[in-house]
Symmetry: C2
Subunit: 531 residues, 2 copies
Amino acid sequence: MPLLVPRWPAWLFWWRAACTRRAFVQQRMWAGATRISGLGGPAGALGTSPLVRRGSSSASSSAPGVRLTRDRYPMQRLPFSVVSEDDLAALERIIPGRVITDPEELEAPNVDWLRTVRGSSKVLLRPRTSQEVAQILRYCHERNLAVNPQGGNTGLVGGSTPVFDEIVLSTALMSQVLSFHDVSGVLVCQAGCVLEELSRYVEERGFVMPLDLGAKGSCHIGGNVATNAGGLRFLRYGSLRGTVLGLEVVLADGTLLNCLTSLRKDNTGYDLKQLFIGSEGTLGVITAVSILCPPKPSAVNVAFLGCPGFAEVLQTFSTGRRLLGEILSAFEFMDAECLQLVGRHLHLTNPVQESPFYVLIETSGSGADHDAEKLSSFLEQVQGSGLVTDGTLATDQRRIQALWALRERISEALSHDGYVYKYDLSLPLDRLYDLVDDLRARLGPSAKHVVGYGHLGDGNLHLNVTAEAFCESLLGALEPYVYEWTAGSGAASVPSTAWASRRGMSSATASPPRPCGSCSSSRPSWTPKAS
Amino acid sequence: MPLLVPRWPAWLFWWRAACTRRAFVQQRMWAGATRISGLGGPAGALGTSPLVRRGSSSASSSAPGVRLTRDRYPMQRLPFSVVSEDDLAALERIIPGRVITDPEELEAPNVDWLRTVRGSSKVLLRPRTSQEVAQILRYCHERNLAVNPQGGNTGLVGGSTPVFDEIVLSTALMSQVLSFHDVSGVLVCQAGCVLEELSRYVEERGFVMPLDLGAKGSCHIGGNVATNAGGLRFLRYGSLRGTVLGLEVVLADGTLLNCLTSLRKDNTGYDLKQLFIGSEGTLGVITAVSILCPPKPSAVNVAFLGCPGFAEVLQTFSTGRRLLGEILSAFEFMDAECLQLVGRHLHLTNPVQESPFYVLIETSGSGADHDAEKLSSFLEQVQGSGLVTDGTLATDQRRIQALWALRERISEALSHDGYVYKYDLSLPLDRLYDLVDDLRARLGPSAKHVVGYGHLGDGNLHLNVTAEAFCESLLGALEPYVYEWTAGSGAASVPSTAWASRRGMSSATASPPRPCGSCSSSRPSWTPKAS
């Protein structure tokens, strides 16, 4: 029986390669969207700014202005060894020519995509096989060297970059598809496969990946699984806990754990792989993934609607679930401020009348006419009952992408607005938006904007607060208030800022930031427990 | 941090309340099936035998003829304490009036539904709350008393009954619905709720339970989760690993572990509840479940088709996935012998021409006309290409039930055929039926029938071998051959006979049965490893 828990503190696993961000327009790969008559709205009035994609190197090829994490936060390095010349030689023997020490090449893996945190790693390792990963980890374990596994480094919470001088273990060269079964749709691949490339691969064979997210152009499937990424297809295909059939994992001491079954149902023994899904690399490094791909839908439609209030958003959701049933594949919402920011910073035009809330609804099914009829009857109902005041419908690929851009580029627009405090929370549906209203009142003018958007299908609120610059007193007003509010709201969840994430993953090294007293903005009083 | 693994051998947890059997017609609760023109077949020619339901008490109210497990198999009782008068008094203080010692009342929980195994427990406990379960386990842990948790006792692998004199801890009185959210469809209930009652409860509110199985009238949701039951809706709604949102569990030492979140997405910390799904009660007793219920489909159709070979069954499945897409909700197959046995023992009539294989396809969706059109186009395609030689279609409730009976009552028909060796295997789709052919050749006349049926959607083969009576030499020819064949077929899975199950769950007490030499039937030679 292999060890499941690495011998803390001999290891430091931070792997946050996947993320919840949908900052950029993802190329929607499904074919065959058809046009049906729908609600009004100025067709073609959407923005024309070029579609930007997140690349692992583009954001972090150089890092001027990004302070070292160890300088920014009061952190203590744990007593790990420091990489020696002997270590480099030993690692070079394991992966000849793939031990990188060039400071320029190390800039990118040391900085996160949001440019919030920066490590000072001096070694980047690029294994190609699970066996190489196992040998590397065994060696580092014996030498007490800290390791930071890294996938696409697209995470928004600073979990994929080193804090100090951890060795970066990259899955970038582990990008082989190992097998695909074209009856069952089971894909087996290495952990470093880029999600978008896998999407393309299975779509050519009549299937789709069961997950999709804004960072798909860079994020690795191993990171997606390690962070239990939800994303845009969660509503339709459910969580990775159901669609990931098997994993191969290397534990901290180099033990290779093979749970790489490709059976849809496997009740033999304990389902150990579940421990690694969402464990953020703290229990081991995922090296290969077996995942069930659903058949590709032949018809996709997208509606963008304005709602007079959040209660109406919820009722529109209920109506959609009832009338669209099995073809409902996404149900996203955003508030008015989100759309204003997308307009101001990215010049995208709101295609419907201004409303307090907007929803984006996607259907995908196997019969274009059937789907169009269902959508039509749904739209009649929500319009007739006043749940929706205005809307527009897209059935062709270009318009579908343009509507998705309004939702997917909110995060990008926010980053143009200043420093962004980001929270990714799961809340009961009926209280999903209360926290946004509450924070607006609490923070007052100390925040530029407080906005809320997210996936209604899985009760996921993206709460974002912008300010001119990072300010510890604003942070102090946000945390732990946001967490306590969430925990007190009946059911809790966390993911959040770099800080909270780091705190959760290595409580030994990180302590919560304290107000520095140097910020002049009005500082709201601290309330230990939200009502 | 509570202990996750009970201090073996201080505890003996066997909980196999749920099962994979579909012996009886389950009342299909979905409304609104509509009639469409379809393939031929003698309508109304299906059997008329009364629908029998499995009741936990009916099968085991007395147990003449069922040998004690300890006499039948060479097993050694572990050094647990024996229940004393003091223990009974202490337990009575925890659950006054619910400590049962009446031998007549203890007959039922001591015998499994198949009447294969029989324990000699002298105490049955009926707690009502998780706190009572915690107190009971804490007490038994301190006193080194063995405990056998029991749900509906509907299991077919002997996992839900005591082997020796373990205390039976029944969840029968833990049958309260704790909450239901009519927007999200999240149901929270105690572990002893009967699946069918939960189905009725959520269907009245416009939802369905994400799982359904033949034993629904008796099995408990806690047992379903503890055994990670798949069942008839797996193809559509996926596994319990995705639909179970939270669990409350009492560990062996009485620690209450609350993972009873009702959030659809929750990435805070490790997902500990996953450890208990499918762990068969070996890690703790599930006391409450939070589960996501999908909206109730308004249209259901069932087609029953004959196929000329297993290759055609697989191609029909691929075609169905493509053309029926999101409305395909069940895809079951059975071989010719299955249907002959159903006809011989239960007088159900085959509604289509005799064929080597049959498939039962169910669609469920939100638009009756749309579904009918999709199904019609699918049927045209499979008939036209020769994949299907004959078929019949049901759109009304009565006919739908009658067609389902052909599939669901196979297990019942088998039990009329003699002693049944049952195996429940997960296999790669292309090799799913090979083992049946292989075993027919291997066993020759020593078996009455070797049949195969199951869920194609999740690659699940129900392999059944009948004989006039239990015979150890036949068992010796089957095991470990079947397991080794399965393991050698590229990907493995087990669940199986009472023996294999017990062996898997408590290797310390059980050892594989040896040929007794008393059976006169021709005994096939033993092959250690299948080709």
